[in-house]
């Protein structure tokens, strides 16, 4: 298990390195935006990975509510935490890119806004996990996780329509338009690397959450055993 994990870690690092080369040196410089466009190779994969993790959180939440397995709860927690981290990267890289290109840090662009709302929903999920007490945390969190995920398509619909109703200064070309072939290669390599990285983080947090659970169990068991001795 340990060895497998280390192999995975090395593999992830290699992928990240290769993805970095692809993004920084191999992919051509974008004609109008210049080098700052290269941040896109991190922006897009982070977004996709974050969305994937939120989906994992949803599945784990459903699984927990039906089976009540501690593993499902650990997975839900791990995927939400790592998902929020990647979502944060999206929200930070977005403005860094927007500032030189659009001349503004933030715009209520449909995709950016939806991502922000998503980020808020899953941060509130983590806040709930922090504030809820006792053994009921997993149930409450799972319920909120399901609510959050069900909300995602509604958020997208609402914000798309919101944007079409409120025209904004014309911004040349969306992010995804007119990508060169080599640019796509760079995107895909980085997507693979980020997906592996996310998997690693989720695995680590999953193990930790399970260990914490086991520790609680052990403490509880210890308090049982202690009294048994005391009674004799």
């Amino acid at each position: 298990m340990k060895i497998l994990f280390n192999v995975l870690a090395v593999f992830t690092l290699l992928l990240l390195g290769y993805g970095f080369c692809q993004a920084m040196y191999i992919a051509p410089t974008e004609a109008t935006m210049g080098d700052v466009q290269r941040i896109f190779y991190y922006h897009l994969p982070s977004a996709w990975v974050a969305f994937l993790l939120f989906f994992v959180n949803f599945l784990a939440s459903c699984w927990y509510l039906t089976r009540r397995s501690p593993g499902a709860d650990a997975l839900a927690l791990a995927s939400a935490e790592v998902g929020v981290s990647f979502c944060t990267i999206v929200l930070i890289t977005g403005p860094i890119w927007a500032r030189p290109i659009w001349g503004i840090w933030w715009t209520w662009d449909a995709r950016l806004t939806s991502t922000l709302v998503l980020w808020l929903i899953y941060v509130s999920y983590l806040v709930l996990r922090h504030y809820a007490t006792g053994g009921q945390v997993p149930v409450l969190a799972a319920a909120l996780g399901i609510f959050g995920f069900v909300d995602v398509p509604i958020v997208y619909m609402a914000i798309r329509w919101f944007r079409t109703q409120h025209p904004q200064p014309v911004i040349g070309g969306g992010q995804g338009t007119g990508l060169d072939h080599t640019m796509w290669v760079a995107v895909l390599w980085n997507l693979a690397a980020f997906a592996m990285l996310a998997l690693m983080f989720v695995l680590i947090r999953y193990r930790q959450a399970l260990d914490e659970h086991a520790l609680e169990e052990a403490h509880a068991q210890a308090s049982l055993d202690y009294e048994t001795e005391g009674a004799q």
Binding site: S124, Y131, Q136, L140, L144, I146, D151, Q165
Partner: protein, 227 residues
């Protein structure tokens, strides 16, 4: 001893809640006063005589209602926690969904009363008149109020099991409610100004209501019995 039906229990619980509220006036008084405060403070914050203010009146109105709703929602389950009455319900064979529905309908009525009192204030302070048909505003109000209270009632039940539950409720309710809030504000503004068609927003609110009423009814039982 016939098995109690969902609707019969919902009705009984609703009548019981209304009777208790009538006698104690826990929720409605604080909610009404809070709403009045919000309207007055908003009038200072956003000059009501300015022409632009009227364009954002829809937004102000719904944000004010949202805040006041949170005050009412926080009261929803306190009454059930006093004397641990909730235990008596959990022990009975009555369906948990009936309890949820009765609370949601009760909150719907409270917030509707609040709107009936608050809207005239806004109309007066912001000198509003609607370009679009008023019946559309009514449809928006009904759908939007349900959207706020259905999730609000569920999350209030969720937060009674957390530390500092009064602050917990808005923290988990607001993010999820963003699309509904967007829809109610834009629909209201569209109708008031007559610039756009509110039909998309009304549909979105209807979908939102349908989806979250279903999800709440499914998930209420595990949340109620999480102890």
């Amino acid at each position: 001893m016939t098995s109690p039906t969902l609707w019969a229990i919902t009705r009984r619980s609703l009548v019981k809640d209304l009777r208790l509220e009538w006698r104690s006036k826990d929720a409605i008084n604080s909610m009404l006063f809070f709403a009045l405060l919000v309207v007055v403070i908003f009038s200072f914050g956003f000059d009501p005589t300015a022409e632009e203010s009227r364009k954002i009146a829809g937004g102000l109105l719904w944000v004010a209602i949202l805040f006041a709703t949170v005050v009412a929602l926080n009261q929803t389950w306190t009454r059930e926690l006093r004397n641990q009455v909730l235990d008596a319900y959990r022990l009975s064979p009555a369906p948990p969904q009936a309890l949820f529905l009765s609370k949601t309908i009760g909150n719907f009525l409270f917030v509707s009363i609040l709107e009936v009192l608050m809207v005239p204030l806004f109309v007066v302070f912001y000198n509003l008149r609607s370009v679009g048909p008023v019946w559309q505003l009514l449809v928006v109000a009904l759908l939007a109020t349900w959207a706020l209270v259905v999730n609000g009632t569920f999350f209030a039940a969720l937060s009674i099991r957390t530390r500092s539950r009064e602050i917990m409720l808005p923290l988990i309710l607001f993010p999820i409610s963003i699309p509904a809030l967007l829809a109610m504000v834009d629909a209201t503004t569209s109708i008031l100004t007559g610039d756009n068609s509110p039909i998309f927003w009304i549909r979105l609110l209807a979908v939102y209501d349908l989806v979250f009423t279903t999800v709440s009814l499914i998930l209420f039982e595990p949340v109620l019995n999480a102890e």
